[in-house]
């Protein structure tokens, strides 16, 4: 039957795509392992994972948004604002650490919610709306922190959120920082939301054909707001993780992170025109980027050149995806 061949064809294409992504990551690993003995060590692998965490969190969040056919440019500075707000909660107001975490994540969610409302109710194009939010969040972070880092010196447990090691306690010697653990849990969570729940279904539906979704009776405005808020939650978690890792909220950091995250999503095969994408793709994309940077650093390639190579990788990855689609 024709449907059977369809299925087979689609299945093969899907396999090829997954293979291409994982294959590229694997190739990078093999290449760097052969090039330098310092690459494939437990310490370095952990540091790659750690380096992926924050970017990965942002990328997971923005994956949801990009699948709707939208974009969120504010994730970088909203992450900073979230970090600053947890600093305000914990260091300025001496609130318990868990409230500080909630405050940070909540800040991210609020910003996402605001993006969602501006985009769905005021009908601003996502690019413009989130560009505005990017500047708002950047400014607020500087104002609130008075442009100085906020340190978490009197709350030592805060830094353990990211840099402590539950795994290390259970299996001595394997000191995988908690940040990695949190990232893995977030990946699982994001995958479930995207593939098993109503939110994910409507995410794809809106990105695939917004008008059809509306005519099918979906409250598109509401669901867009939900999705931008969801993105904000992941970004907020990224912010708290960042602050915990640095044991301080750095108000000047963050701009430019949004582009790295979007690059990871795109490398992972999520289509910027919406309707297609996966969390696994995004995670692999994020790993490809951090592995590349890490490996080039180990090979003593100057930082400036690392950026150039990353750019070429983005173009190459998307080109591969275009070829795949034609095939």
């Amino acid at each position: 039957m024709e449907t059977a061949t369809y299925n087979l064809k689609r299945f093969r294409r899907e396999i090829l795509r997954q293979f291409l992504m994982f294959g590229s990551l694997l190739l990078l690993f093999i290449f760097f392992s052969l090039s330098s003995p310092n690459f494939f060590t437990f310490g370095n692998i952990v540091s790659i994972m750690l380096a992926t965490c924050v970017n990965g969190m942002l990328a997971l969040g923005v994956t949801f948004v990009i699948i709707t056919g939208g974009i969120d440019l504010s994730i970088g500075t909203v992450m900073t604002l979230s970090a600053v707000m947890s600093g305000v909660f914990i260091t300025y107001w001496h609130l318990p650490v868990f409230l500080g975490i909630l405050g940070g994540v909540g800040t991210g969610m609020l910003c996402g919610f605001a993006n969602g409302v501006v985009i769905s109710k005021m009908k601003l194009p996502p690019f413009i709306a989130t560009l505005g939010m990017m500047m708002v969040a950047k400014g607020l972070a500087l104002v609130i922190s008075k442009a100085a880092p906020i340190y978490f010196t009197h709350a030592p447990s805060f830094s353990r959120i990211a840099m402590g090691s539950l795994v290390g306690k259970l299996f001595p010697g394997f000191d995988v920082p908690n940040a990695v653990l949190i990232f893995i849990v977030s990946i699982v969570l994001a995958s479930i939301i995207l593939t098993k729940t109503v939110v994910g279904r409507y995410d794809f539906a809106i990105g695939s054909n917004e008008e059809a979704a509306r005519l099918s009776g979906l409250n598109v405005d509401k669901w867009k707001t939900v999705i931008y808020s969801l993105c904000g939650i992941f970004v907020g978690m990224g912010g708290v993780m960042m602050a915990s890792r640095l044991n301080s909220a750095q108000p000047a950091l963050g701009q430019g992170y949004e582009l790295d995250a979007i690059a990871a999503v795109v490398i992972g095969g999520t289509s910027l025109s919406g309707g297609e994408g996966s969390t696994i793709g995004t995670v692999v994309g994020a790993f490809i980027m951090s592995t590349l940077i890490n490996g080039l650093r180990i090979l003593s390639v100057p930082q400036e050149w690392q950026i150039v190579v990353s750019g070429i990788i983005v173009i190459g990855a998307v080109y591969l995806d275009i070829i795949r689609r034609q095939g």
């Binding site: 449907t3 369809y6 299925n7 689609r10 109503v198 279904r201 054909n209 059809a212 099918s216």
Partner: protein
């Protein structure tokens, strides 16, 4: 007598500046396929949008199953059991069939309502599709299906609401003949089950085959409802346009010694074109007939240089022409007007003026770089007047014009470029009946002025009425050449189905 399923009476609707509907009426019985016809802009869509809750009526009543109802939004219409399958399909290509059918009312996992029960939805979709003998796998992504299958998914989706009224808006516009047959079978099955089907179509020939009654609208008014058995298509057309549109063309003979402007010899490419050769004379309208896929468009595109050929020669005005690309063809004065105007013929977002001067931009430049607006305006005004393009100003965006006027803008564009061999591919597709006669008139005028025209058309009456000479194609070969005087539909069809048995 049975009670009507739907009765719309005295419906008025105004938009700012336009009276869209005035005292309109529509009646649908259960177990009936009721055609709704009218020119574009007659108010069919507006009436249906009122019935499906997209628009609100200003006055009048909607009686549904004997009770007056209010339909404030599309959801309410669906809940009443009124579903519509739009001409532009409203599916999400990246989702599966089942996901599309149940979008917005997914089955949830018991006890955990955020999660979806995919298996249950696939099972129910399968049941639904099987009930109507639609052979579609519910797990497949919609983008992998043909348009016809996608349409079936839309119908299945409509039926899954337990619809009692199904509105089909131009369902056959994009289907092949076999697919149309399949669709009609499904519609008949639904009719047997007692559903009321409202069938909107421009293809009037179909109505005889599928519809029970027909309601005609014109300029926002209800004109009449007739039993399809008691009415001829010509009668329907004259009700639609309010006059007889088929003015006979002043078609004379072409002088046997008129200049040969285009000669094609042995044009071949693979299985699509085999040894195609013909001559086109000055002032002639040459009809190119054949079934869909017979190679007509391929020949046109080959002459225009849009696709490469394996072999063959083209002579323009006696000179051998080397045409490797559309720009070569245009230089030789050949223009091709695609059947898909909106996609290949126009920049919809640009103004009439910009569209018209685009190919001949060079003639309107000062210092090779600045557009001389005054000059281009004058020239455009001239063509707009000559071709009777209905546009408020030259600055009007082309997307706001009607189909017929868009077609004329393309003609103006090529005339401005001094093209005198015009290849029209389905010139009246998607154009309503009234505007068609305008296009016919234009073609005749162009020919009388000495332009030469190749007209590809699937509508036999159009080919027969317009052409001086008709070439018929089948499976990439020219199987017949008929003079206008001898041409009949039967003769054209005979040649069009003259398959080469040896292959």
């Amino acid at each position: 007598m049975k009670e009507p399923l739907v009765l719309m009476e005295g419906i008025d609707k105004s938009f700012p500046g336009v009276r869209a509907l005035e005292n309109c009426r529509f009646e649908l019985m259960p177990g009936e396929i009721h055609a709704l016809v009218g020119e574009n802009g007659a108010g069919k869509s507006t009436l249906m949008k009122i019935l499906t809750g997209v628009f609100q009526k200003d006055a009048g009543h909607i009686i549904y199953k004997g009770k007056e109802v209010r339909i404030p939004n599309p959801r309410a219409a669906q809940e009443l059991g009124i579903s519509i399958v739009h001409q532009e399909l409203n599916l999400m290509p990246h989702l599966t069939v089942a996901q599309n059918i149940f979008i917005g009312r997914e089955t949830r996992r018991k006890g955990f309502s955020l999660f979806l029960d995919e298996e249950e939805m696939n099972r129910r979709a399968q049941e639904l599709l099987e009930m109507f003998h639609m052979r579609i796998d519910p797990r497949i992504k919609v983008q992998e299906l043909t348009v016809a299958k996608q349409q079936m998914v839309e119908i299945a989706k409509a039926l899954s609401f337990n619809a009692e009224v199904l509105i089909m808006d131009e369902p056959t516009a994009t289907l092949s003949e076999a697919e149309v047959g399949e669709l009609f079978q499904i519609l008949r099955k639904l009719r047997e089950k007692g559903m009321g089907i409202i069938y909107i179509s421009h293809r009037l020939e179909e109505l005889k085959e599928i519809a029970d009654r027909v309601t005609v609208m014109r300029d926002g008014h209800y004109i009449g409802t007739l039993n399809i058995q008691e009415v001829t298509i010509d009668r329907i057309i004259s009700m639609m346009v309010g006059r007889n549109i088929y003015e006979t063309s002043s078609k004379g003979r072409i002088d046997a010694d008129a200049e040969i402007v285009l000669e094609v010899k042995n044009l071949s490419r693979g299985r699509e074109m085999k040894n195609v050769g013909f001559r086109l004379r000055k002032g002639e309208i040459l009809g190119l007939a054949g079934l869909v896929g017979s190679g007509r468009t391929e020949v046109a595109r080959a002459i225009f240089g849009a696709d490469p050929v394996d072999s063959g020669e083209i002579y323009v005005k006696g000179q051998k022409a080397h045409i490797k690309s559309p720009s070569d063809a245009i230089r030789h004065g050949i223009a091709y007007l695609s059947e898909d105007r909106r996609r290949y013929g126009l920049m919809l977002g640009l103004s009439v003026e910009d569209n018209v001067i685009l190919p001949s931009m060079k003639d309107f430049l000062n210092f090779n770089c600045f557009i001389n607006r005054k000059k281009s305006k004058e020239k455009c005004e001239e063509y707009v007047g000559k071709l009777r393009i209905k546009t408020p100003t030259l600055a009007q965006k082309v997307k706001n014009l009607s189909g017929g006027n868009q077609q004329k803008v393309i003609v103006a564009k090529w005339l401005m470029k001094n093209c005198d061999i015009l290849i029209f591919d389905e010139p009246t597709r998607g154009i309503d009946v009234g505007a068609k006669s305008e296009i016919y008139k234009l073609l005749n005028e162009l020919a009388e002025e000495g332009k030469s025209i190749i007209m590809i058309s699937s509508e036999l009456p159009e080919i027969l009425r317009m052409s001086h000479r008709i070439l018929v194609m089948c499976e990439g070969r020219i199987t017949g050449e008929i003079n206008a005087q001898e041409a009949t539909e039967e003769l054209v069809m005979k040649y069009a189905t003259m398959r080469n048995k040896n292959e």
